[in-house]
Symmetry: C2
Subunit: 385 residues, 2 copies
């Protein structure tokens, strides 16, 4: 059985706070007819700090897609190896033990992908399989776990390295002025995550089943405009309400496995925004504290795309894990609208180096519970409730 | 055991011949100091005809990456479904029988990827897994077969749909004037391929083992420059000699399986150019006719990237297949430099509708055997041997 070990995470050194984000929005969009709405939506995300690969002045400049992608490559090569080393150490493996690298990232594009560079640079074997995925967005963290699980089912005893490298700030588009874009500018952050799935041994989440669910006819709810200026993130106002459509898929997969989705011991889910977490509580009859790890990721780092689930899982490890045998789920949500869900049980003690501690208490007053409603392509002057 | 069934192929209606390509090169690059070399290299590819998604006048214009990618999306949605329908029919499956879609394409970028659109449009189940891969280039055909095989190993009885959609003409960059680019402009063509891998039953190649090999420190031999103007294909002069480095990987994987790589009954390989096929003959001690299907794809359609292996396999089917139990290999080569290799045996009669016939005889005079030497970033005026 394959076990997802303790993830390693790194966030860049440049930090922007909520207050700074709001002040910037007020300056940059002083005459915007929906400025007030945008500010409220940003405040309601509950995001307190975000980390960026460049200082804010450089982040706000758009030097063109050519330069943006050069920055992506440079920063990925600079930041990924150390995170991979830590993930290997957490899994008590070396590069030579890895049979497959799944590299997920939707914020830059390279061919060959970073998988080839990692193999050449970090001592992975020449016969390491490469699965680079760029087009699953925020769902790619869950997808990476699921494809790693499939691989370990196919080759019992094989080991997989997952890397999620997301520099969302490199997709900032200063000319996108709809409220959805203004909200996104205050929501997304940068991070690198890596984690090992061990075919034998290991401490963490032993994955037992995985599944994917596409909500029919929602392709245009989360999408990229691919343009001369790079990737333009396009968010539909219906996205925050997605959990009503995806909760049945979570319940269904758990049911197929003989589990009650409302009775699990841990929940590591993509924190796209606060309403996703609030709605999951509602539709799955769960307490808000259930999602404290995902909520903490959102609060401290913003929506870090495919890296969210690994950051949240790392917090569960840092919190001391859960008792052996505790059942839980991991779920990524993203464009499609796609959910990538896995079900598993906790095995073993936390990896060495984990610091058992209680997470910072998160009360309802600590996070925004107001549901942002993101308008879709709303015309200027429209009033959004 | 998983069986790769008969592929379905479609090429666009716009055709450009070798003579037209050479005439265009003479006109467009009249003053180019290496024009003579470029013309010889193009002639030596052996490519007689290529198919394009747009008339040549539109192909040569560069309306910007925004429009290029819009054309990609429009043409993919227009051309892929019919090919998928045929592939499903060849595999005697319906869309509801498919558990995973592997969509490979390096010539356009969409998020969500075409997998979501296909699921919504063609009646695939909502729980169909999606693996879109954009960053493995010409190796992605082999990679798709290998990941499909892994999936069928993980879930015995599962069925996989593979789609390779390559509109290489949408990566034509009129300002790239190095000889490698001029050669590429005369080498690549457009095509759509689809094929089903059945977990149970089916006629075709029953895959028994797969493997990947990365040639160390060759990342910059085949790469994309990702720019404001889109994807710029960059070809190093050392690429045509790659088989000296990859033939041992083919031999090694076959050896692990207890097979002599020089004694197989069919060889379906990526035809990146004529020297790749010539060198494989040399390094694996094989007759030129061994690669007649890959050679025919190159001659009639050019290098159609990840679709080559499926086009060549479709020719083997059209030729009546091989006797039950015949062993063979399928291999894609591409950026990394990466080889994606699978080994398998022929099972069953050819799918209904196959037209047993002999392929057009290909003699050594019919194809160019001169080895093109592609210069790497050579300065203008350099003499290339």
């Amino acid at each position: 059985m394959a076990t997802l070990c303790r993830p390693a995470i790194a966030v860049p050194e440049h930090v922007i706070t909520l207050d700074e984000t709001l002040a910037l929005a007020r300056t940059l969009h002083a005459g915007h007819p929906q400025l007030g709405l945008a500010l409220r939506l940003i405040e309601n995300t509950g995001v307190r700090t975000r980390h960026l690969v460049q200082p804010i002045e450089r982040t706000l400049a758009h030097p063109g897609f050519t330069v943006r992608n050069e920055v992506y490559e440079r920063e990925a090569k600079r930041r990924v190896p150390e995170v991979v080393e830590r993930a290997l150490a957490h899994g008590e493996l070396t590069a030579r033990d890895i049979d497959l690298i799944v590299y997920v990232s939707c914020t830059g594009f390279m061919m060959p992908s970073m998988t080839a560079w990692l193999i050449n640079t970090m001592g992975f074997r020449s016969d390491t399989r490469q699965v680079p995925i760029a087009q699953l967005g925020c769902a790619a963290g869950g997808a990476a776990v699921n494809r790693a699980h499939d691989f370990c089912r196919a080759y019992p005893g094989a080991n997989v390295l997952i890397v999620a490298c997301e520099f969302c700030s490199l997709c900032y588009q200063p000319t996108d002025l709809d409220v959805g874009s203004l909200l996104s500018n205050g929501l997304f952050g940068d991070a690198v995550a890596a984690v090992v799935m061990r075919g034998n041994g290991g401490h963490g989440v032993q994955v037992e089943r995985n599944g994917s669910h596409l909500v029919p006819h929602t392709e245009d709810w989360i999408s990229y405009g691919v343009k001369d200026t790079g990737f333009h993130f396009q968010l539909d106002r219906r996205v925050p309400g997605t959990m009503e459509l995806l909760a049945p898929a979570l319940r269904g997969l758990a049911g197929e496995h003989g589990w009650d989705v409302s009775g699990l011991g841990f929940y590591i889910v993509h924190a796209g925004g606060p309403r996703i977490l609030d709605d999951l509580c509602r539709f799955l009859n769960l307490e808000p504290a259930t999602f404290r790890y995902s909520r903490a990721t959102l609060t401290e780092r913003g929506n870090i795309a495919s890296a969210v689930v690994f950051d949240a899982l790392a917090r569960l490890f840092a919190d001391g894990g859960v008792p052996e045998g505790t059942t839980g789920l991991i779920a990524g949500f993203g464009p499609g609208i796609t959910a990538e869900i896995s079900l598993g049980s906790w095995v073993g003690a936390p990896a060495e180096g984990a610091r058992p501690r209680r997470p910072r208490a998160i009360s309802t007053s600590d996070i925004a519970l107001v549901h942002p409603t993101v308008p879709r392509r709303f015309p200027t002057g429209t009033t959004i409730s």
